[in-house]
């Protein structure tokens, strides 16, 4: 069985041996991995760990190894969004969160695999090939932060960072049986996160337990003047780690149990809600009528923004460059050869949705529907403290099962994307199993009320045993 070690366990190991040994043991494990979770490790990781041992650097995460999604910029460590078009690109600057992690003494192990440019739900569209789910290597780990979730589940890193544009932290957390948080929009600086859909996404932590999520948030959240959408608001996340849901009002949106939901998932989630009731919380069904339109709204907005965000990859300044006897041809060839099929499809659809004659029908309409979805949340969260439902309607599906049908893949995001449209925080915690695969419970809170969902998730973890089950060692 895979060994999971949380941050406090890591600290204990460092005290007993050294940060260098801890890092070395992770690197050794990664070296033997067959799940393709990491796309590259950092050749300076041991050096950093040694410096920690030498006492050169202290901090709340001193010596704690961490895995970073391949779309978060790291100075000196290639960052490619798992795309051919960014082959060889080495950022000359650190993302805000990376600076924070380095200051806190964390040891960056390497970059994790993802759906190309974070566009996917399965981590199959990576230029580096699919990542395998440690619970069943025939299945996907979820996406797009599939690598970040899989390496934590496989014990190749104690914690990791992902990014969540429409569920990309929560989906793989659910599929891999770990904890993942999508914070409130503006909570964590996006500076250095390579944009897919700026108005929707946030960086988010993944870990084996809720306490580690809070510990990471205490390090990476907070205001950054380099991100105009970053919000200046102090918070202590670890203070929320209390086993107490007495009086907590839970809303259960009936739309989150829609058509196509897996029976095992449904049962696990209702069991979890029952457990909350036992623990002193109350729940009621709630209606969020625009949920069914959220998916289309989300994809139109995300693709539109992406079509513009990804325009800079033209072969001129960095990354892959194809031939072409004038610049426009060179750029078109570079993009045709450098992007994978799904990325190209989304760019084309986004370009179309913004183009003359279609802008109002698609883009503007989607933004209006976004308002309606957000109003659903405002209304629901004025009645209850948190919303709960399944993170994903099914457990992890088989590799290759949906890759040829983009739409069926999009439909899997039905419960996660409304959260991004509304900008509210949401956490996915393990709540059981279906077909032997982990099921995630999604807990959604009010803007900047991360502490309530962290407290709810922590209490659940303290009173259940789902998170103690581990995948078998895969070799």
């Amino acid at each position: 069985m895979v060994t999971w070690t949380d941050i406090s366990g890591i600290k204990q190991k460092i005290a007993e041996s050294s940060a260098e040994e801890v890092t070395a043991s992770y690197l050794e494990k990664i070296g033997k991995s067959c799940i393709n979770g990491f796309v590259r490790t950092w050749d300076r990781a041991l050096e950093v760990a040694k410096a920690i041992d030498a006492g050169d650097q202290e901090g709340p995460l001193a010596g704690v190894p961490i895995a970073i999604k391949d779309n978060i910029s790291t100075t000196g460590l290639s960052t490619t969004c798992s795309s051919k078009i960014l082959q060889g690109y080495v950022p000359p600057y650190d993302a805000h969160v990376i600076g924070k992690l380095r200051d806190a003494g964390a040891v960056i192990l390497g970059k994790t695999n993802m759906d190309e440019f974070a566009m996917g739900t399965s981590t199959e569209s990576s230029y580096y090939g699919a990542t395998l789910n440690p619970w069943d290597t025939d299945r996907v780990p979820g996406g797009s932060s599939g690598g970040s979730a899989a390496v934590v589940a496989a014990g190749e890193a104690p914690v990791s960072l992902g990014s969540d544009t429409g569920g990309s932290v929560r989906c793989p957390a659910a599929f891999c049986g770990v904890v993942g948080l999508k914070p409130t929009y503006g909570c964590i600086s996006r500076y250095g996160l390579i944009s897919y859909a700026n108005s929707l996404e946030q960086i988010g932590p993944l870990a084996t337990c809720v306490a580690d999520i809070a510990a990471l948030m205490d390090v990476i959240a907070g205001h950054d003047h380099r991100d105009s959408t970053s919000i200046n608001r102090e918070n202590n996340y670890s203070e929320a780690l209390k086993d107490d849901v007495n009086g907590l009002k839970i809303g259960v949106p009936e739309e989150y149990f829609g058509e196509g939901i897996d029976e095992g998932v449904e049962k696990a989630v209702w069991d979890a809600i029952g457990k909350y009731e036992d623990m002193g919380a109350s729940w009621k069904k709630i209606s969020m009528p625009h949920t069914k339109y959220a998916l289309a709204s989300y994809y139109i907005i995300a693709m539109s923004e992406a079509s513009s965000n990804l325009a800079r990859f033209d072969g001129t300044r960095y990354g892959f460059r194809a031939d072409g006897d004038n610049w426009h041809v060179m750029a078109s060839n570079t993009r045709a050869e450098g992007f994978g099929d799904e990325v190209k499809r989304r760019i084309l659809l986004g370009t179309y949705a913004l183009s003359a004659g279609y802008h109002d029908r698609y883009y503007l309409k989607a933004l209006k529907v976004r308002t309606l979805v957000k109003q659903d949340f405002d209304r629901a969260l004025s009645e209850v403290d948190v919303l709960m439902g399944p993170t994903m309607p099914t457990p992890a599906f088989k590799i290759g099962e949906k890759i040829d049908d983009p739409l069926s893949l999009y439909l899997a995001d039905v419960n996660t994307v409304p959260v991004n449209l509304a900008g509210v925080p949401s956490i996915s915690v393990p709540c059981g199993f279906s077909e032997g695969m982990p099921v995630g419970l999604q807990i959604i809170g009010k803007h900047f009320d991360e502490n309530t969902i962290i407290r709810a998730a922590y209490s659940f973890e303290q009173n259940t045993a789902h998170h103690t089950r581990r995948p078998r060692e895969v070799v």
Binding site: S73, N198, H328
Partner: protein, 475 residues
């Protein structure tokens, strides 16, 4: 006399003004002082468009823009935001330009110019903020180029695009409008118009109520006048031959003085504007009153004041207030000599000599023109000599006093000395006799008398020489 505008010419101008007096660029802290530096030394992740970088607005750029809007009698918008203008060009590192779209910071203003038949109001449609692209350099000519070099030092500089209504009826009026705009901007102290690329012009022109043609790539005011003259002639000839003018964009070839059609696939655009998700809205109108209060006296107001305060001609008032430096220079001089004399000397004579040499007012010291005016008004040199002194200073340098002496321009002074010498000889016969009798020392007495008469202004050695000569002539 009313200008008939026989060809029904309508000219509108779009002027891009680079706010190079800001210390930093529009969205990043890179210095704007790049004009003499190596390529790509004033760039950072933001203005190089590196993946993951985010823009943050320069507050002073917004203040400058409001200042300009108010100076052009515009309304300042309540709330504005930036949009992305999506198109591909290698000077655009993000693949889109960040600009303003449906809510320009300023709109509905006016500029008053000296038109073909007296004062004419040119309406300002809008003034909006945007970022400057980088600079391209073609290896060889643009058509037969072997490649393109890109320098991003200019990328991200703040531009204000000032768009006029098609209210100008001749290239001359267009030129006057440009001069007036430059004058106002100089007064506002928001840019240095002498730096390369500080003001760039696109023109649109139509004749006989036909379609309008846009002319791009105009690099100087003189060029604007030439391009318009050519284009009006071309359109008139085309119509005369029975042709029809089509709406198109033409490129001005400065070297050949012609406009060339640019109908290529590359020039086809669909900009797919949408609000920049990485920048939040700006509520700016509330800042306008304070900025209005601090607005400096503008050219029209200063001209009015000059007319009143210094009682000069309208022509002088206009000439002296067009350029803020000239106006300041004039007021400096007018404080020390008769303002009317100062007006003639500065507006007519000095400016004429400067223009002839293509020099600005900086090339001449105010104290020197004060000295020259004093010499002339005290009748010590002729007006003609005054002009000669100005020319000498401009061509060879030097101080007015020295030049007057070296060139023997003190005609009047000579007469005074000659007269004093004659008088002294007549009034001191004893000393004269003693001297002629061989008492050399007696001459000193006569010299002293001459010096008394000239109040010490004469040169003692010259007086002695003249005495010796006069006495020798006498005897």
């Amino acid at each position: 006399m009313v200008y008939e505008n026989p060809d029904g010419v309508k000219i509108g101008l779009e002027v891009h003004v680079q706010l190079n007096k800001l210390k930093t660029k529009l969205f990043c802290g890179c210095s704007t002082d790049y004009h003499n530096d190596e390529p790509n030394t004033h760039v950072c992740p933001v203005c190089l468009g590196l993946p993951g970088s985010l823009p943050v607005i320069n507050e002073r750029a917004v203040e400058f823009a409001i200042r300009i809007g108010l100076a052009l009698s515009c309304e300042i918008v309540e709330q504005t935001q930036f949009h992305r203008k999506n198109y591909y060009y290698p000077d655009l590192p993000k693949g889109f330009q960040t600009t303003q779209y449906d809510y320009p910071i300023a709109s509905k203003g006016k500029v008053i110019i000296e038109g073909e038949d007296g004062e004419r109001v040119i309406r300002i449609t809008r003034a909006h903020m945007e970022e400057d692209p980088g600079r391209l350099q073609h290896i060889g000519t643009i058509e037969k180029s072997k490649g393109t070099l890109i320098n991003y030092n200019r990328s991200g500089m703040t531009l204000i695009e000032i768009v006029s209504e098609p209210d100008m009826r001749s290239p001359k009026e267009a030129r006057r409008y440009l001069d007036k705009l430059r004058s106002i901007l100089d007064y506002l102290d928001v840019f240095n118009g002498d730096l390369e690329g500080a003001m760039r012009v696109d023109a649109n022109v139509s004749v006989f109520g036909g379609e309008r043609v846009e002319i791009k790539n105009i690099s100087s005011f003189k060029g604007a006048e030439r391009a318009l003259l050519y284009e009006i002639m071309r359109q008139k000839n085309h119509v005369r031959r029975g042709g029809e003018i089509v709406m198109e964009t033409r490129h001005f070839d400065e070297a050949r003085g012609v406009t060339i059609s640019m109908r290529t696939k590359e020039a086809e655009h669909d900009y797919r504007y949408f609000p920049e998700p990485d920048l939040v809205p700006l509520r700016v109108a509330e800042r306008a009153p304070e900025i209005q209060k601090a607005l400096p006296e503008l050219p029209d107001a200063r001209r009015e004041r000059f007319l009143r305060q210094y009682e000069m001609s309208n022509m002088h008032a206009r000439a002296l207030t067009n350029e803020i430096k000239v106006a300041d220079f004039y007021e400096d001089v007018a404080g020390k000599v008769n303002p009317k004399d100062a007006a003639v000397w500065v507006a007519d004579i000095l400016r004429g000599e400067l223009n002839y040499r293509d020099l600005g007012i900086d090339a001449f010291a105010a104290k020197d023109i004060v000295t020259i005016i004093e010499l002339v008004t005290e009748n010590r040199i002729t007006e003609q000599s005054g002009v000669e002194v100005i020319r000498t200073i401009l061509d060879h340098g030097g101080k007015p006093q020295d030049i007057v002496k070296d060139k023997g321009l003190l005609k009047v002074e000579d007469d005074i000395v000659a007269k004093a010498v004659k008088e002294a000889i007549a009034e001191n016969p004893e000393a004269v006799t003693d001297y002629l009798g061989g008492k050399e020392k007696s001459l000193n007495f006569v010299v002293g008398k001459v010096m008394q008469k000239t109040k010490g202004r004469a040169d003692a050695r010259e007086v002695r020489e003249r005495l010796v000569k006069d006495l020798n002539d006498q005897s």
